[in-house]
């Protein structure tokens, strides 16, 4: 199987879905000739033309709102937010509209859009090019939210999102774009929305997370295995709304110790819900308090290198926390 970059997996998913279904189109700032500021849409306009790879005026509420209108009319828009930091102007369209169209019309109308938005730091982007806005949208029923950590999942989840009859926010991690490469089959496949994935089997502690930080956990797990014989069980949520309750409970039950990780700040993050689910369902199976290792509760990461490093999770921070929990 070919090994490709995470960003190529995203581009390929769009390309293949656009070939498969003429209702699929991409819209966003600079997605056309430039191919997006990260080159995610590179070449697509050449292949599909200006209409299906549409440069939109610099106005995120319109990008979301126009996509929602087109989706209600039967199209399958992929709306790109240049950075997830810049999707907040579209909040009203996403939360008041996309999320509620099916429910408010008692199933008469639907809104099959995908909103792609790059999350995460570590690219010297500073406060407004590094954020993880998951918590803002997480508490809104009617939305689905996915956040892949591998190229394989990125492709399969994006295809699933495009084919999904409901609005899906696709949080792609910009640090993963070129750093993460893995095997991606040439054949068409989807990764089902709502299903977590065991990235690593282990029996000593469970790590649950999504997106980039899982790679630090995987690295830490290898070292802990080699250096201490500690085997971590690692679960990639992949979909954060709706959460895979069974997948979570199964993974926790395996070890009785759980560390939840994400780059989004701790308070009010996805990890809180994961912890709450466990505390609700599996309290008596726990051999240690539920730990969370997340971004600090500050507005966003600084751009200066020591500040950014101080903010971000990394292998060392993961290893320390995992070791401590294993030894609890």
């Amino acid at each position: 199987m070919p090994v490709i970059e995470y960003i190529d997996a995203i581009r390929l998913a769009m390309k293949e879905e656009m070939e498969r279904d003429s209702d699929v189109f991409v819209m966003g700032e600079d997605v056309g000739l430039k191919g997006g500021v990260f080159t995610t849409t590179k070449g697509l306009q050449l292949q599909f033309g200006e209409q299906r790879v549409l440069d939109a005026p610099l106005a995120e509420s319109a990008i979301a709102g126009v996509a929602i209108g087109a989706a209600m009319a039967g199209m399958k828009p992929i709306a790109e937010m240049q950075y997830s930091d810049f999707m907040f102007p579209a909040t009203n369209q996403i939360i008041s509209e996309a999320a509620k169209i099916r429910y408010r019309s008692n199933n008469d109308w639907d809104c099959p859009i995908v909103i792609r938005a790059p999350i995460g730091g570590g690219v010297f982007g500073g406060l407004y090019h590094s954020q993880c806005p998951e918590s803002v949208f997480f508490g809104t029923p009617g939305l689905k939210i996915v956040a892949p950590s591998t190229a394989y999942d990125a492709k399969g989840l994006l295809k699933a999102a495009i084919r999904d009859p409901d609005p899906v926010i696709f949080f792609e991690n910009k640090k993963c774009y070129r750093l993460i490469t893995d095997e991606v089959p040439d054949e068409d496949y989807i990764v089902p929305i709502g299903k977590a994935n065991v990235m690593r089997e282990g029996s000593d502690l469970t790590v649950i997370g999504y997106s980039m930080p899982l790679h630090f956990a995987m690295q830490a797990a290898e070292e802990l295995s080699q250096e201490h014989g500690i085997e971590a069980h690692i679960l990639d949520l992949r979909t954060i709304q709706p959460l895979d309750r069974e997948g979570i409970l199964e993974a926790v039950a395996k070890t009785g110790k759980v560390l939840i990780i994400h780059e989004d700040n701790k308070t009010g993050g996805i990890g809180a819900e994961v912890a709450a689910i466990i505390a609700e369902e599996l309290l008596y199976d726990l051999d240690a308090p539920i730990r969370r290792l997340c971004g600090p509760d500050v507005p966003a990461m600084p751009i200066n290198p020591p500040g950014e490093k101080h903010f971000l999770l990394n292998k060392e921070k993961l290893k320390t926390a995992m070791l401590e929990l294993a030894r609890y």
Binding site: G65, I68, G69, Y103, P165
Partner: protein, 342 residues
Amino acid sequence: MKQAGSVQQTHRHTALGLSDERAVEMYKTMMLARRFDERGQLLQRAGKVNFHISGITQEPSQVAMGFAMDLKNDWFLPYYRDYGFVLSLGMTVKELMLSVYAKGEDPNSAGRQMPGHFGSKRLRIVTGSSPVTTQVPHATGFALAAKMRGEPSVAIVTFGDGSSNQGDFHEGCNFAGVHQLPVIFVCENNQYAISMPLEKQTRGRICDRALGYGFPGIRVDGNDPLEVYRVVSEARERAASGQGPTLIEIMTYRVTAHSTSDNDLAYRTKEEVDLHKGKDSLPVYKQYLVDAGLWSEEQEAKLQTEIRAIIDEGNEYAEKAAFQPVEDAFRYVYAEQSGEGQ
């Protein structure tokens, strides 16, 4: 047809391409909207329903809009005062009554949403919400879809004068301007946004904003439904022939309180309201039809009887109808048939 001939040539509606039947049909629809609206107010006052929001005196222009559109192909994004508009698009009084009573058979939302939140895929009326102006970019999106698919559809969206100050107005209009999309933006300027008179909402003319987006902006007297018909027809024509959007500002006045929850005399005088009540174009349009030989007092009496029957029947049906069963109250958060992607 009928007693047509040379005289009819002089009638305004004929010159606009409206047949006598359609001109009369417009009147009937206006009156139906008026009577429905009045009934809604009564029902609220009688404690039968919690809430009513009125479009009284805005109906003539709303109906004119509807009649200028192509019901088979176009897309409609009304706002909450648009009873006249949605009635002209085929929604029935019974359906509206079901919505007023929030009953399960209400096609707009199965009684989930407040009255005035229209939506019917069958009638190409797009589901709407309460936060104002979100529908403006949606209309642009419907127009974009039509252009992409080569469909002959035009999207028409309405909103209030206050609502035109939301960012979504600007963004939705500008997007449509850039891509020259087949969409008509209609501001029903009734000179109030709840308690706030127009001068506290904006110092500009709303129609003038179109200039900044590079398409025509037209102000029209809402008390002249035939003129509204003309302006909307022409905008539709432009849209359908690839010449892009039009912004239309219909000048009207909100003669009722904002809704049954509002006491408008806290912020305006009865004199001001009465002045505008006097400009009601419904009797004027009726007189026009009478003068044109298309309408008579006998027909009027018959119409009133028919309308009362329709409203009574709708009311009775809706009042007795069931609420959506609570087992269904939480359905349709997501699609129930799992698609391939789920």
